[in-house]
């Protein structure tokens, strides 16, 4: 089944002082009021010319507080972050998977900066405090094979990600994130018991509200770097056109 074209928002970047500039794009796909959707954040970090981006310490994605993240039906089981780190995504229950994505990181090899492609897998993690917690597995293969677990927590209107320090080669700077693109929801397969049989189904997804705020939905990303610098970026997803005006 073909899905509607994703609704997408981009925006300008902002930075404080000499901090890296950041830009954010966000999409809802599909974008129908009152219906379930997937949410994608795409973040780019651009350091000042001739410099490497500093390592991140935290990313805080903000979104309208009335989006139905907590009522999405995603994360019906929890994945143990220690097992995720030791074994990988296959250690996690299928019903704990909440999304996926990719990232690009920069690794210093002598004077050279090498870009590494990283695969992200998002899982629900045990909750110590009543909030939904996530464990994000970041896997890179070339040039450095690595498996890192990043923790995050879903707060009302925020997804707060704590980025650990990832050491580079001895004597080299720490690994830095250049781009990150993550989707919550999407083509996930969950399982449930029906009359004694395990039956696969697709979780409903993140509910959009019945109405769209004037000017569209505003999303943002606040970045904190290990060196204390901070950057911000925002994106606006335009309201869907009224159904009667749609074509095709």
């Amino acid at each position: 089944m073909a899905l509607a074209a994703p609704a997408q928002g981009h925006n300008a970047r902002a930075a404080a002082g000499g901090a890296p500039r950041a830009s954010l794009a966000a999409t809802f796909a599909p974008e129908r009021l009152g219906a379930p959707t997937t949410v994608t954040f795409a973040l780019n970090i651009d350091p000042p010319p001739e410099t490497a981006p500093p390592p991140l310490s935290q990313i805080d994605f903000s979104y309208p507080g009335n989006l139905g993240f907590a009522t999405s039906g995603l994360g019906l089981a929890a994945c143990d972050p220690l097992e995720l780190q030791a074994v990988g995504g296959q250690a996690c229950p299928a019903n704990s998977r909440m999304g996926g994505g990719t990232a690009t990181v920069e690794v210093s090899f002598g004077a050279e900066l090498i870009q590494e492609h990283v695969v992200l897998e998002l899982f629900a993690a045990p909750s110590p405090d009543g909030y939904v917690h996530l464990a994000i597995l970041a896997r890179g293969a070339e040039p450095v094979e690595a498996r890192i677990v990043i923790t995050a927590v879903l707060l009302p209107g925020h997804l707060q990600i704590d980025v650990p320090v990832v050491a580079g080669l001895p004597g080299a700077p720490d690994v830095a994130i250049k781009q990150i693109r993550a989707t919550l929801g999407g083509a996930l397969t969950y399982y449930e018991q029906v009359h004694g049989h395990l039956v696969a189904y697709r979780p409903r997804g993140i509910g959009l509200p019945d109405s769209c705020p004037r000017g569209g939905w505003r999303l943002g990303a606040a970045l904190a770097f290990q060196n204390g610098e901070q950057s911000q970026a925002g994106a606006v997803i335009a309201c869907p056109q009224r159904r009667g005006r749609r074509r095709g």
């Binding site: 009335n66 009522t71 994360g75 405090d129 909030y131």
Partner: protein, 145 residues
């Protein structure tokens, strides 16, 4: 499941009709509703179903869960003699469980028909089925009308 219940006090029952209209009744209430998902709007789920207990009837609930474990709900009970409006707030536990439970307090603030001046309060317990978006909700408390 809740067991059978009994009204604690029905002070108006023995009064003549002329006085009954202006007198207050106090009930100890226990109701349970099995609710099915109707629709959602973002972080608000709307469920409906039938309630059994002290005040049987249909129940409609607007359940707000935005990621904060402190959840809230607007509840309307459509009884035989009018509607009762309530507001509940509570705390949801085990958010990654398929069926997290919640408990909290319920306050009654008006309604219609016989319950147009309803007041009261009590406790609310529930289980939220995250696959079906249905709920089982139990209330117990005191109702003045």
């Amino acid at each position: 499941m809740l067991c059978a219940w009994a009204p604690a006090l029905a002070s108006a029952a023995s009064l003549p009709p002329a006085n009954r209209a202006h007198s207050a009744t106090t009930l100890s209430v226990r109701d349970e509703g099995n609710l099915r998902f109707v629709r959602s709007s973002g972080s608000t789920l709307i469920d409906e179903g039938h309630a059994t207990g002290t005040i049987p009837g249909n129940v409609r609930i607007h359940f707000l869960y935005n990621g904060n474990p402190n959840v809230s709900a607007q509840i309307t009970i459509y009884g035989a003699h009018g509607t009762i409006q309530g507001h509940a707030s509570g705390r949801l536990s085990s958010p990654t469980s398929p069926n997290p439970s919640f408990s909290g307090t319920l306050s009654i603030a008006g309604g219609s028909g016989r319950y147009s001046h309803a007041r009261g309060g009590g406790k609310l317990y529930g289980v939220f089925h995250r696959r079906s978006y249905g709920m089982v909700v139990q209330t117990e408390g005191t109702l003045h009308y």
